[in-house]
């Protein structure tokens, strides 16, 4: 039993990390009142930019390359999310439509650029990925050490710490209060002297930064290259995590961890003798079925920020 946990927990953590980052981004965007279906595309941009940077600059930067790559992805994600922000906030475009367009645009752009830069539709493996490590000292703690501090990616820890930071910012700081206010009732916020447009821009750009980071973490730890199919649905899973987690950073983290857990369980499951003869398909769909059951069973209704999806037009009600 303990053995199973020893393998499930680290796996769940590395699997969940990209989803956590991206979902946190989604939380910020939607909390500020802008639905972001484009998370998938922003992850693509993150993966694309980090891999490209990594391949081009590994020789110069050496071991520090992956960290710079993450930074590049964050910036690329922010820039790309600006398109979403300008369209939805300034031009009052439908948020869902724009998100869908962002997804197509990111993929088209990413693959097109890869072809321009490397002359092929799929990059080589990066030579400087992020590796897992043991956490000194902590790893020696009995049971816990092996579960939580053995062969772990720093990015997983960052994801979890960032979830708490995101929660703190959203619920304890003036900035968070303002983000939530413009997502619930932008006009009220406006009459209180809050710059609704600016705040929403920031919300969307944060989602770009975090989704870019999520895509990059996926690329730097899991796929190690970029192609048209590197990011294939993770962004949508992140959206699911946002809703599952009821637009709360910690909830979103919990949901992402749950997805990781369910996936990992389905993999571990197939090596449990009892389940050996169960057709593969049941294990493959298990994570998704589990999610639906969890939603139907005890998560239930989740209520989106009231004004999310609605462009704010100054002076109208």
């Amino acid at each position: 039993m303990l053995d199973i946990l020893y393998s499930i927990i680290p796996q769940m953590l590395f699997f969940a990390a990209p989803l956590i980052f991206t979902a946190l981004g989604g939380v910020y965007s939607e909390r500020s009142g802008v639905i972001n279906i484009g998370l998938e595309g922003l992850m693509v941009i993150g993966a694309f930019s980090s891999v490209t940077f990594n391949l081009l600059y590994a020789d110069v930067l050496g071991d520090a390359t992956p960290w710079y790559s993450l930074l590049v992805a964050i910036i690329a994600g922010m820039l790309f999310s600006l398109i979403h922000a300008v369209a939805t906030i300034t031009f009052r475009a439908d948020q869902t439509v724009t998100g869908v367009a962002i997804n197509m645009l990111a993929l088209g752009f990413g693959v097109f650029m890869i072809k321009q830069i490397f002359g092929k539709g799929q990059t080589d493996f990066i030579s400087q990925p992020i590796y897992s490590t043991d956490v000194p000292f902590l790893v020696d703690i009995p049971v816990i050490g092996k579960m939580f501090f053995n062969n772990m990616y720093i990015t997983s820890y960052i994801a979890i710490v960032l979830s708490f930071v995101a929660w703190y910012v959203l619920y304890k700081t003036p900035f968070g209060l303002r983000i939530r206010a413009v997502g619930e009732h932008p006009m009220a916020a406006d009459t209180n002297g809050i710059k609704v447009y600016t705040t929403r821009y920031i919300g969307v750009i944060i989602s770009g930064a975090l989704a870019g980071l999520g895509g990059a973490v996926f690329a730097m730890t899991i796929s190690l290259n970029f192609s048209v199919s590197t990011i294939a649905g993770q962004g949508f899973m992140a959206i699911a995590a946002v809703i599952f987690g009821k637009w709360n950073p910690l909830g979103a983290m919990g949901a992402a961890l749950f997805f990781g857990f369910a996936q990992s369980l389905s993999v571990v499951g197939s090596s449990i003798p009892l389940l050996e003869n169960v057709p593969q398909v049941y294990l493959l769909i298990a994570p998704y079925v589990l999610t639906i059951l969890a939603l139907a069973g005890f998560i239930g209704r989740s209520v989106a920020p009231k004004a999310s999806g609605v462009p704010y037009v100054k002076g109208s009600r």
């Binding site: 699997f15 092929k120 493996f125 990925p129 730890t221 796929s223 993999v267 593969q280």
Partner: protein
């Protein structure tokens, strides 16, 4: 075959021969078989002094809906021989071939029984058998793994050959077989690999396309933490040595090579020479270098492995051993050991 005679007869100068391929959704730089097929065509083109686009060409498909259109586009531009790369094109090749009896087609990895279609298949089970031999010889733990993409007949062929090869070396070896359910899920591949290495597996053979990237990622990560540890991957379809590189180490033990390029170039040449194998199943195996095993990682791929592999390779070529390609054949084979 008479159609081919006339066409090559007409173009006595030899320059008018045109061949082209339609990729599946991978594209010619997929580091896998579209790429390999294209390399074959390019080689053929160079050997015959043909120009790209005029003498040899390709069309890329972005989705399954594109196959038929692309095939027809090539027919309409008077292509003499059209390759469909991958079993997914079989259905469409069949239909287009019916409507265009004057044109020659070749399908890779599948069989289409039509007079103007040549079916190119590979004996993957033979290469996989050797991969199994290498894995079993390499393994210290007595536990090896196999990661498949989708649980299809084709991939089952890899699995069967691999298990048979491994058991041939060590009857008691444990083979952990898992399918990711997708060829494009590196995260799932990494999960599976992590799980396998955790449970003591020390060699994993993957036949899982992009999902296999996750297997490499996990092996390299473990290797990075523990350079002395045994975390080997056996690549598939082409030499995946580069994918295994990590610092000064390399986790790619070997790769099962599928020489699509060789096959494509051969069929194209035959066709140009008026010997198009229409209606035939052209099978490539160890014997004709259509299937092979990579020896790039000289450090890991030690002499004892090489000699074991070579020994079994000879047996297969000589027909002393038949590598099983299905679950049933595998069962019979293992029982016979």
């Amino acid at each position: 075959a008479c159609g081919s005679g006339s066409s090559s007869g007409q173009g006595g100068s030899g320059d008018s021969f045109k061949t082209a391929m339609v990729t599946d959704t991978g594209g010619i730089d997929d580091k896998s078989f579209n790429q390999s097929a294209w390399e074959g065509l390019t080689k053929f083109g160079e050997d015959n002094d043909l120009k790209e686009k005029e003498g040899y060409d390709y069309l890329q498909s972005n989705s399954a809906s594109d196959y038929a259109g692309n095939l027809n586009r090539l027919v309409q531009s008077n292509t003499d021989l059209i390759f469909g790369v991958g079993f997914k094109l079989a259905e469409d090749i069949g239909k287009v071939a019916d409507q265009n009896k004057e044109t020659h087609f070749a399908i890779i990895d599948s069989v289409v029984e039509k007079d103007n279609v040549a079916s190119i298949v590979f004996e993957e089970q033979q290469g996989s058998f050797l991969a199994g031999v290498a894995a079993a010889t390499k393994s210290d733990s007595g536990k090896i793994g196999f990661v498949g993409g989708e649980e299809s007949e084709l991939i089952k062929k890899f699995e069967a050959g691999y298990v048979a090869g491994a058991k041939s070396v060590n009857k008691d070896i444990e083979v952990d077989v898992q399918y990711a359910g997708s060829f494009g899920a590196p995260d799932k591949g990494k999960l599976i690999a992590s799980n396998m290495y955790n449970s003591g597996v020390d060699v994993i053979y993957h036949s899982a396309g992009g999902t296999g990237n996750g297997v490499f990622a996990q092996a390299k990560d473990l290797k990075n933490n523990n350079p002395e540890g045994n975390y080997w991957v056996i690549g598939v379809d082409r030499d995946q040595y580069d994918e295994g590189q990590i610092g000064d180490n390399n986790v790619t033990l070997t790769s099962m090579l599928k020489a699509v390029d060789v096959a494509v170039a051969r069929v194209a040449q035959d066709s140009k020479d008026g010997e198009f194998p229409g209606g035939e199943i052209v099978s490539f195996g160890l014997k004709d270098d259509g299937i092979g095993i990579a020896e790039t990682n000289t450090e890991a791929y030690t002499d004892d492995i090489k000699s074991a592999v070579d020994e079994w390779k000879q047996k297969i070529i000589d027909g002393d051993v038949t590598a099983p390609g299905t679950a049933d054949e595998l069962k019979a084979y293992v029982d016979s050991l």
